[in-house]
Symmetry: none
Subunit: 421 residues, 2 copies
C-alpha cells in the first residue's frame, strides 16, 4: 500500500484557548512533507475527547494519523482510550511502559499515573526518555488499508525526541523516502533571521534548510543534495560567521567546556556578575558535575567583587566593573581562592538599563586564568535588546572561549573573527 | 440565540507543508476565549478546497465559523465560492469591494484580481486597508440557528487589523459575555498529577479547572461558578497542601522574596550548593536586581564551602554537606562575608546519584541568617526523580522560606505543614 496522506491531531485546551502557541504542527508537517507525505489537515482541539469523532472521520481517507497530547495522568487526558476504541481493541497494561514508569516513580505509580502504563492492545510502546507519558504506535485495518496511528505526548521536550527517534524512521520506511539525507548543526550567538539570511546567501541548488530555536543554541539542518554539498554549504557559513559558532550535531555550548575538562580530569571555578549564576547553573545541570566544577561566586555588587574576589578598588574606579581589567582580576581572584585548575569570569551589562555610549547594553567582558597559562581577557558586544538573550549568549561565549583557552588558543584572535550580527 | 461554540479554519498550503508557522490560531482563539466562546477546533488545511467538507460538518454544531486564507486572486483561492455554496447563495460583485480594489489597481482590476470583488450574496464586506483581498461576514440559517460565518485574508498584516476592527466587536455583541469568570492561581512544589487529584477531591459542582506547567510553577485556573465558590475551592486546596504553596495570580516564587526585600530596601546574599547558581540566576533575571541582590557563592566542592564560607571541616565530617548544620554555617558564612541584610543557603542531593538511605536523592537543607533575627535552618524532602525538577523546586523552597523568614515566621512550623507529594 501507498502511504501518502497524513493528518495531525494536536490536543490541548491551552492551545484552543490561545494561552500558548502550537509548535508541533509546523515541525511534524515539515518532516512529513520532506518524507513525501501530503498533510491533509492539522487539527488543534481541546482535551475534551472531541478528537474521537474526527479520528473516525479521517481514518477513512488518511494513511497516517498522528496525535499529540492527551496522554497525561489527568481526567482530561483520554487519547489512550479513544485510540483503543478507534482500533476496536482493549487498553492493556504494557510491561515496557510499566517498567519505565516504575523506574521514574517507584510506588507512587499507583495513583493517577497508573493509567500511563496502558496502551491499546497490539500497539507498540514508544519510550519517553524525558517524561512519564510513553507514546505508542500501531496499525488499524480499514477496508484494504493498514492505517498507521501514532500517539505522542504534548510537551515539546518529550515529543520532539520521540518523534525523531521512533516515528520519523518508520514514516520514511512506509513512504519509501527513507533515503532522505540531512545534516544537523548547532549554531551559537546567531539570531534566527540572521542565520536564515546567511543560509539564503550561500545555499546551492537542491539544498533545503531549517532552523529551530533552543535555549542556548539555534539548531540548523541542511537537507537534500549529498553529504559533500551539505558540508560545502556549512563551510561557507562558517567562513562567514567565524570560528566556533557552528558545530556539527546537537551540542550545547557548556558541553564543549565540560569535554575539555573531563578529558584532562580537571576542574574549573567561576566568577560571574552579569550572568548571575547562569554559568554555574549550566555547569551543574548534569549529575556528577562536582568532577569538573569546583564552585564559584556571583559578585553582583561592586563590594562583592572586592570582598569575595579581591578585585582592586582602583581597577573598579579606573576601568569600571565591565572591563577586561576587572574580568582579569575576577578570574585570577577566584583561581586564587580555589584549588580548581581553571577559572573563568563574566562581567557585563545585560540591560535594559545601565548602558552608556562607551559601554552600551550587551557589552560583556570575559576573563580566563589557570595554573599554567597566561591570563587572557576579551570584550565582546552581544547585540540584543533582551536581557535574557544577552545573559544566555554571555554564558555561551564563556563556555566557547573557556574551551578554546584550555586548548591553548588566543581568544582575542577568535573573537575578532566573529561576525554574528 | 446563544453564541458560544466557535471553529477556526486556517487555509494555507505553506502551513500544512511546515514552511511557516501559523500565527492566527493562537491570536484568534485567545480573543474568542476572552469573549466567552469555546473554540472547539482550529483546523489548518491546504488551499485545495478541502475546507468545504469540514465547514459543512462544523456548521451543524458551531455558532461561529471563522475562515482565514484562500481569498487571493489565484486559482487555488476558493474560499469565496465555498462559503457561497455553504450559504446556498450566489457570488455577486459587491460595489464597496469593487470600489476599494479599483482605487488600488485601476484598470488592472480586469484580470485575476477581478474575482476579489465578489462576495456571497447577502454578506457584508470587511474592508482590507492593507491588501487587495477584502473579507466578508454574514449569517447562515441552520435549523433554528443563525450561524455567523466570517472570511478574512491570510497574511497576518491584513488579517489582524480586520479582525480587531470588524470582527471582534461583533463577536462580543453576539456572546454578550465580555466578563467570563475565572480565577488564576500559582502553585508550587506540587506535581501536575498530584494537583489534579487534589482538585478532583475538593471541586464543587459547576466548577472547571485546568493546570499549566511552567518553569517554576504550575498555574491553576478555576472557572465557572461565582467568585465565592472558586475561593472556597482554592481554600480547601490550601488547607490540604499547607501554607505558601498556592497563591493568587501569576506569581513566580522569586517574586515573593523580591517583594519583601524591595519593601524594606534591603538585599540578600546567597550560598548555593545543589542549585548551582539557579537561585542567584533567578534573583537577577530582572533588571535592577543589584537593588536586592548583593551576590553569593556556589560552593560545589567541600573545599569551596570551607574556603569561601568558613564552614567548619568538623561540621562537614560530623553531619555531612547536606545537613541543617552545614546549611546554617553556609548562610552565616555568606552573611559575614557580605554587607547584605539577609542570607540564604541551599545544600542538597539532586541526584540521580549521590543519595543514601538516610539522605535519599531529593533531601535538601536550607539556612537563613540575618543581622537581626536568629538563624534558622530546615530540611525538606523533594520527591522527584528528575535532577532538573529537584533543583527548580529547591530554588522555589529557598524563595518561599526566605520570604517567610524575613516576615519573622518560624520555618520549621511552615515546612511541617506541607503536604506536597
Amino acid at each position: 500500500m501507498n502511504y501518502t496522506r497524513a493528518a495531525l491531531f494536536i490536543i490541548g485546551t491551552e492551545l484552543t484557548r490561545g494561552v500558548i502557541s502550537d509548535r508541533h504542527g509546523r515541525l511534524i508537517s515539515s518532516q512529513l512533507t520532506q518524507l513525501g507525505y501530503r498533510v491533509e489537515r492539522i487539527i488543534i482541539l481541546p482535551d475534551d475527547g472531541s478528537v474521537s469523532v474526527l479520528l473516525k472521520e479521517c481514518v477513512k481517507t488518511c494513511d497516517v494519523l498522528l496525535v499529540t497530547g492527551g496522554l497525561g495522568p489527568t481526567s482530561d487526558d483520554r487519547t489512550r482510550s479513544i485510540i483503543a476504541d478507534l482500533a476496536g481493541v482493549e487498553l492493556i497494561r504494557h510491561p515496557l511502559a510499566f517498567e519505565a514508569l516504575y523506574k521514574r516513580m517507584g510506588e507512587r505509580i499507583w495513583g493517577a499515573n497508573e493509567q500511563q502504563t496502558m496502551i491499546p492492545e497490539g500497539f507498540e510502546v514508544i519510550p519517553n526518555p524525558n517524561g512519564t507519558a510513553c507514546g505508542f504506535r500501531g496499525f488499524i485495518r480499514v477496508d484494504e488499508r493498514e492505517v498507521l496511528v501514532v500517539a505522542l505526548p504534548g510537551p515539546p521536550r518529550e515529543m520532539d525526541r520521540m518523534f525523531f527517534d521512533h516515528v520519523r524512521p518508520l514514516l520514511g520506511e512506509l513512504s519509501g523516502h527513507n533515503d532522505f539525507e540531512r545534516s544537523d548543526y548547532s549554531t551559537y550567538l546567531l539570531g534566527e533571521s540572521k542565520l536564515e539570511e546567511l543560509c539564503r546567501s550561500v545555499a546551492s541548488e537542491g539544498l533545503e534548510w531549517g532552523t529551530r530555536f533552543q535555549e542556548q543554541t539555534i539548531s540548523l539542518y541542511i537537507a537534500g543534495g549529498d553529504q559533500e554539498k551539505r558540508t560545502a554549504m556549512v563551510e561557507r557559513l562558517r567562513s562567514l560567521v567565524g570560528p566556533l559558532l557552528i558545530v556539527d550535531g546537537d551540542v550545547q555550548p557548556v558541553e564543549m567546556l565540560i569535554k575539555e575538562l573531563k578529558e584532562r580530569g580537571q576542574s574549573i571555578a567561576t566568577a560571574e556578575s552579569v550572568t548571575g549564576g547562569l554559568v554555574s547553573k549550566l555547569l551543574t545541570d548534569q549529575s556528577g558535575s562536582s568532577a569538573w566544577y569546583w564552585g564559584g561566586v556571583n559578585t553582583y555588587a561592586y563590594e562583592a567583587k572586592v570582598r569575595l574576589l579581591g578585585v582592586k578598588e582602583e581597577t573598579l574606579a579606573t576601568f569600571g566593573a565591565v572591563s577586561t581589567e576587572c574580568a582579569k582580576e575576577m578570574a585570577e581572584g577566584i583561581l586564587r581562592q580555589s584549588s580548581a585548575d581553571w577559572a573563568l569570569s563574566v562581567t557585563g551589562i545585560a540591560g535594559p538599563s545601565g548602558g552608556s555610549e562607551e559601554k552600551p547594553v550587551g557589552t560583556v567582558c570575559f576573563g580566563f586564568a589557570s595554573r599554567t597559562l597566561e591570563t587572557q581577557s576579551v570584550q565582546v558586544h552581544l547585540s540584543s535588546h533582551s536581557r535574557d538573550i544577552i545573559r544566555r549568549r554571555a554564558a555561551t561565549v564563556a563556555f566557547l572561549l573557556a574551551a578554546r583557552y584550555i586548548q591553548g588558543g588566543c581568544l582575542l584572535d577568535t573573537v575578532k573573527k566573529w561576525q554574528y550580527s
